[in-house]
Amino acid sequence: MNRIWIGLLVAANAGIAQTAVRSHVERPKNDPVFTDLSSFVASLPVVEPRPLDRTAALQLSTMPLSCMDHPQPRPTPVPYIWEATYTPVADYETTRAFYGCYDWHSAVNSAWTLVRILKTFPDLPTASAIRQKLNDHFGASNIAGDLQFFKTAGTFELPYGYAWLLRLQYELRSWNDSDAVRWAANIQPMATYMSERMTTYLKELQQPVRTGVHPNTAMAMDNALGYARSFDPALESEIRSSAERLFRRDVRCNTAAEPGPSDFASPCLMEAAIMSQLMDRDSFLPWLDSFLPPLYSTEFRPLTKGLGPEFVKNPAAIASKSHIVGLAFVRATSMGELANALPASDARVPVLRRLAAIQAATGFPLMGAVGYDGSHYYASWATTYLITNPRVVP
């Protein structure tokens, strides 16, 4: 997403990604201890889920609209002996699709956000601006250029960006709209390519990636699942068997290690969320109980820990930790997905919805706090969260 992402790439390439330093936030001594769900719920602030209404849709669409054509930042390496000067690739407006919004995957998820919002509110006053933007970026030559690039780019954007591309394509192909049909046809060769690569990637993965950032395996599966279920049985079957192989035996997730300093997602919640969608309910419920501590327990607390006041008061602190705002929305998404998977009568459902709403409520006011560092992707995860709650989507 931004500097942290680049840093991670460098770290991963150097084989030292394990150096990420995890800061354990000390829990105040007087943190209350709960022994049941009802007393825990009583302690929570009452936060109503924000509806995805026209106002919210307009607000959310402004961020991707404003970044889609803001080119990725020019690299600024410190030269050792080779000094570089950079120029944009020739004809990028016709040979590249996702060159805005800070980086490739953020451009893809910003495009997804525009599609999802336009699909839900086709008569927004900004609808034609959104259509024009998508039309410019989803041209046949733009996508062909991207596909050609990716065929020579190794594992670049695998799995995070690939999974988002599949999610975008799922949204387009499940939309009865003449523009969307044309765009989907343009994108399909790239979706097919990425789906195949993703299938192989999962098949060969010997252990899941459990970080709270982009390479997380559960997150990739979740983002790709909609497309896989609807359009690609081979990918769906690989997601199922990989999840079985990589996650099924897991017990007692290490909640104490969350959140890591640059996490924008909760590894424990994401794993629970993907398993909730893959396992049948009878096996999922006992699995969940052995995997996550009870919602009211002290052990669960790290997964709900909000932003400290020092962040809210200090925009500079947020800027260097732009992921922490994303974390609020992504956690809320996982909680919402979990709530969707539990039986409606399960007492945890309203609690998860409330916890999700509390998370999101800390995120919404901060969406503009760090400018482009956040606006290039916050709207995508905020929208993703909102649509996990069927009651707030028209």
Binding site: I16, E83, A84, T85, Y86, P88, F156, Q206, R252
Partner: protein, 516 residues
């Protein structure tokens, strides 16, 4: 009787491996399926079955060989970044094999050809050589920064061992050109700027800092060599290096202290490997701050370890599973392979760890033994009694089947390793076949060099372990023999080497230095 027992044991072991594989649905091609041999009765039986290999003498001809190679690369410019837009084709460099040590560490903004970082998607780079690079930089040859540092160190080791050889003047001239005041000040300025670009707050977490830890560790090894060399020129070079050395010692100590968990893969990022090099410096230069940082972190990471899975260290082709434990395992170096496949996978204390090697090519090639590197480090951290007790717990007995991958010389590869992903489409034209043959030959050369480096690294660790044991310990002779076996295979693989010129001599010399 033995035969029967061994067959049963081997059968059980192979069954165990098969059921593990079935349960986890690992692709068969990615596992070394040959069962390990059964236990020997005792150390005596092991020694009987080991080939008699005497340590190769460090004579003048070996010194000339090992000294000539770094001299040949120190002034060879590190490659212009070869990605798209670098002003040249993206075809692999066919003039020489790629250095396996390269893949882990590339300069910021200097991706190798076919980089996985998206270079060239929107911004196309055009590269020019830094003005006065030979005046403002010290380690700009030998393929990459850490190899240039190690090669510099190697020339000094040779010179100090044979001060009157014909290499004397050549070497001093090179050192003078590279270790001038302006060169090293330029290096420090570069590293300060690089660190600030990651995080402007000094000594804050600078994750992903270029060449940290491996290059930094080698620079400290070089600094300790100069520091202990009673020579008027060396004193000047050492003084020129002092600010950079201090900065890197400080930065590396902070890096170790802030690590949440050690890197246990066999790549150049391996924490124990880097800590051992750092201790060489800390002891030579009496840097107690760095020594304390290393010792306390090493105790925290390794003191409570259980049995290391030496059986997983059989050298397998690079792409097949990353070469033994190269995949950056979850949690401690513990032996997990004998665990029943159906028991729950308790994540309570799990690391969230590094991405596996398929992730952005992370992990890097295996160039060191994780188990032996750790054991070599702890030899410097614990007193002798505590060390012997720790070693007895953490390493399986030398005569055991589980230790056998480390008693055997690494097999000489005859073909290139299996590529991690199949090539897109075979070009069947004559030119295409010729190009493919060159690529395969380079891959084989690279693999041979990697295995030579791994052999020397094992030999070096074994010597360090042998020297830490009480002289009365009956295992000392076995460790020396095992070390000689590994080193000899290293020299064999290094003969006619075309790929490891920039870094292998330093690995050989490090072994010879420890053995001294």
């Amino acid at each position: 009787m033995h035969v029967v027992r061994r067959t049963i044991a081997a059968g059980l072991l192979s069954l165990g491996m098969l059921s593990t594989r079935a349960a986890t649905q690992q692709p068969p091609a990615r596992r070394d399926s040959t069962p390990i041999r059964a236990d020997y009765r005792d150390l005596g039986e092991l020694l009987e079955n080991l080939p008699t290999v005497a340590p190769r003498p460090f004579d003048e001809s070996l010194a000339l060989w090992l000294g000539a190679l770094p001299l040949s690369c120190l002034d060879r410019l590190q490659a212009r970044p070869g990605g798209r837009g670098a002003g040249r084709a993206t075809a692999p460099d066919t003039s020489r094999g790629r250095n396996p040590m390269d893949s882990g560490a590339t300069a910021r903004g200097a991706p190798p050809a076919a980089a996985n970082n998206g270079a060239g998607y929107f911004w196309v780079a055009n590269y020019t050589l830094l003005n006065d690079h030979d005046r403002l930089r010290a380690f700009w040859g030998c393929n990459d920064w850490h190899s240039a540092v190690a090669a510099t160190w190697a020339t000094i080791r040779v010179l100090r061992t044979y001060p009157h050889s014909t290499l004397n003047d050549l070497t001093r001239e090179k050192l003078n050109a590279h270790l001038g005041r302006a060169n090293l000040d330029g290096e420090l300025e570069f590293f300060r700027a690089t660190a600030a670009a990651i995080n402007p707050i000094p000594s804050a977490s600078q994750t992903g800092l270029f060449e940290r830890p491996y290059g930094f560790s080698w620079l400290l090894e070089l600094a300790s060599e100069l520091h202990t060399w009673p020579d008027s020129q060396a004193k000047r070079w050492s003084g020129n290096m002092a600010p950079l050395t201090a900065w890197m010692a400080d930065s590396l100590g902070a890096y170790f202290t802030k690590l949440v968990e050690p890197i246990r893969s066999g790549s150049q990022g391996n924490t124990a490997l880097n800590m051992t090099l750092a201790l060489d410096y800390a002891d030579a230069a009496h840097d107690t701050k760095l020594r304390n940082a290393v010792v306390s972190t090493a105790r925290k990471f390794y003191l409570a370890d259980s049995t290391c899975s030496t059986q997983a260290e059989r050298a397998v082709p690079a792409a097949a599973g990353g070469g033994g434990r190269g995949s950056g395992g979850r949690g401690p170096n513990a032996d997990t392979t004998r665990r029943a496949p159906t028991i729950p996978n308790d994540l309570t204390a799990s690391s969230r760890g590094a991405p596996p090697p398929t992730q952005f090519g992370g992990g890097g090639p295996v160039i060191t033994s994780p188990c032996l590197s750790e054991a070599a480090l702890m030899a410097r951290v614990l007193d002798q009694r505590a060390y012997v007790a720790w070693l007895d717990r953490v390493l399986p007995p030398l005569e055991s089947g589980r230790f056998s991958p480390l008693t055997e010389a690494i097999a000489i590869p005859t073909g290139p390793p299996i590529p991690p992903t199949p090539p897109p489409a075979a070009d069947t034209s004559p030119a295409g076949r010729a190009a493919a043959a060159v690529v395969a030959a380079n891959a084989l050369a690279t693999e041979r060099a990697r295995l030579a480096g791994l052999s020397f690294s094992r030999a070096q660790s074994m010597e360090r372990i042998a020297r830490a044991l009480p002289s009365t310990d009956h295992r000392v002779a076995a460790w020396h023999r095992l070390s000689a076996i590994q080193a000899e295979r290293g020299f064999e693989l290094m003969k006619d080497d075309q790929s490891g010129i920039s870094w292998l001599p330093a690995q050989a010399l490090l072994y010879l230095t420890v053995r001294k």
